[in-house]
Amino acid sequence: MAKIVAGIGSSHVPSFGPAYDGRKFEDPDWKPLFDGYVPVREWLRDTVRPDVAIVVYNDHGSDFSLDRVPTFAIGVRDIYEQADEGFGTRPLPPVKGDADLSWHIAKAVIYDEFDLTVCQEMKVDHGMMAPLPLLFSHDPDWAVRVVPIVVNVIQHPLPTARRCFRLGQAIGRAVASYPEDLKVVVVGTGGMSHQLHGERFGHLSEAFDRRWLDLIARDPEELCRMTHEEIMAAAGAESVELIMWLVMRGALAGGAVERKHLNYYAPMTTGMGLISLAAA
């Protein structure tokens, strides 16, 4: 049987891309970010050893346009190319999918009353690609297969925080019913505090971010009660993508969790958070 063994919460800031590709690991302004990922990557590689990562992210107008905006979507491909976000793509191999597991999750979750949009065509943007190489090796090929879950955090109305948590719970049930022996890690991406438009561009709230990093492990129920307005007022309009971490947390919610790693750094316009949780 497949089993969810760990959860990761991670920011997905676009600037991770050029910094990583340019190997700025020792650059003093980047080192606090990259150093945070090292023990998590090693823990995943040596201890958790997942076969599959379910990556919860949002598209940023790269592959999904506004003609049709799904609240929740799932990719069901065996391979995902990178989307061109306006600058070309990064020197990384295409992401490996797991179409069988994706379709299994789609079926289980739709029958469980979550109204997914099922995508046989899909490209992935920095929402997934910013953190992925920081968490998993990719040389010559990715160490995990990926099931992408796409959440609308762009065009309001967004799904509620609680709905995201419940989607995670449904994904947890779906994985538990998959007959193959697979170890699965769930990665919730996005945030933390940031605002990228308006006169309030650049707004940060380390206090909010620290509270989120505490509650996501210890008391996700309190996060589920937050409205989009509360999150956006406290931590910037674009910080609302943090609700995607609740999909990850919901997927782990069947058992106790143990927080393994924590990192936080906010050098420019985004609170860059990282957390790892082991399923008990």
């Binding site: 676009p14 600037s15 910094a19 650059d27 003093p28 302004d29 980047w30 606090p32 970010l33 940023h60 107008g61 790269s62 592959d63 346009s65 506004l66 003609d67 989307a83 061109d84 976000e85 306006g86 600058f87 070309g88 762009i154 065009q155 309001h156 109305p157 605002q195 990228l196 438009h197 308006g198 006169e199 309030r200 561009f201 650049g202 307005e229 956006m232 007022a233 309009a237 674009e238 906010a266 050098p267 420019m268 316009t269």
Partner: protein
């Protein structure tokens, strides 16, 4: 120059967060063609076509004259505040016109790029 469209009379919502223009249905409706144009710039050929002749490119989309004018002026604040531009789409317009996100942000804040950088903790991480 968009003062007339300012405030509640422009039909756009106000969520009560200062300096913040939530991308809800009021903006998505007004900005549909604008964001569509910006989205089209994910295609390298379209980027070339846009750079070569912005006016001809804009003419392909049903933009308002005010939207076109805000693009001509690279007025990122007006585009997101008044014209329904979503920042993630508009960012592609910035890229195609040579404005990075932090340049766009500085302008939206009413600062120079250098002034804005001075407000950051570790400005090398960009």
């Amino acid at each position: 120059m968009d003062e007339k469209k300012d405030g509640p009379q422009d039909g756009l919502s106000d969520w009560g967060i200062p300096g913040t223009y939530i991308f809800d249905h009021t903006r998505s409706r007004v900005g549909f063609e604008l964001n569509k144009l910006a989205y089209s710039l994910t295609d390298p050929q379209n980027r070339e076509a846009f750079k070569k002749d912005e006016e001809a490119y804009m003419a392909r989309y049903g933009l308002t004259e005010a939207q076109k004018d805000a693009i001509r002026r690279r007025d990122w604040l007006a585009l997101t505040k008044h014209h329904g531009g979503n920042i993630y789409y508009i960012y592609k317009l910035g890229a195609a016109t040579g404005s990075g996100l932090y340049h766009m942000g500085a302008q939206m804040r009413g600062e120079t790029y250098e002034q804005f950088l001075e407000t950051r903790g570790a400005k090398g991480a960009r």
